[in-house]
Symmetry: C2
Subunit: 78 residues, 2 copies
DNA sequence: CGTGTAAGGAATTCTGACACG
DNA sequence: CGTGTAAGGAATTCTGACACG
């Protein structure tokens, strides 16, 4: 949770996605990168995995809203 | 070896050292950060540990040359 | 020797917006 | 809806150098 250490540039390299895509997933509340004092995003490896998963699901036909609901369900499992 | 993903800014935060110190240890061949296409340094958590170790040793009185020799010895252990 | 700092430039990242479909 | 892109600005990082001790 506190190991958000890489820039969007690294995430871009690791995932092959565009900055636009990566930022959009945050806009839709699917990932929550930390921020530096200056305002730059900082991601963890967990976030990278999540981002790749999101992209996969989108290609499968899901939309960001459905993915948000789904991740909420996961968190609420008892 | 391929997990060099954080900027000098993160290393600075994690170690409390200055950019000058962090860069100097590289200048003295004690750490070997990767570089982005643009030329920015990228460090791994291993590097961060190494940097902290270097700083500790320096405070103990060692100089960068001795530390370089020492790390070379470690690598050559058979 | 190890570190601080001011200097100027280049690379990185940010936001809000318009575009397409 | 998910993504591309040009725009302008701000934050980040880089190098080489002078300084101190």
């Amino acid at each position: 949770m506190n190991d958000q250490i890489m820039s969007i540039g690294m995430v871009k390299e690791l995932t092959g996605l565009s900055e636009r895509q990566i930022r959009y997933y945050e806009e839709k509340q699917l990932v929550f990168p930390a921020r530096t004092k200056g305002g730059s995003r900082r991601y963890s490896f967990e976030d990278v995995k999540k981002i790749q998963e999101i992209h996969r699901k989108l290609k499968e036909g899901y939309n960001t809203y459905e993915l948000k609901i789904k991740s909420r369900r996961q968190s609420n499992v008892i």
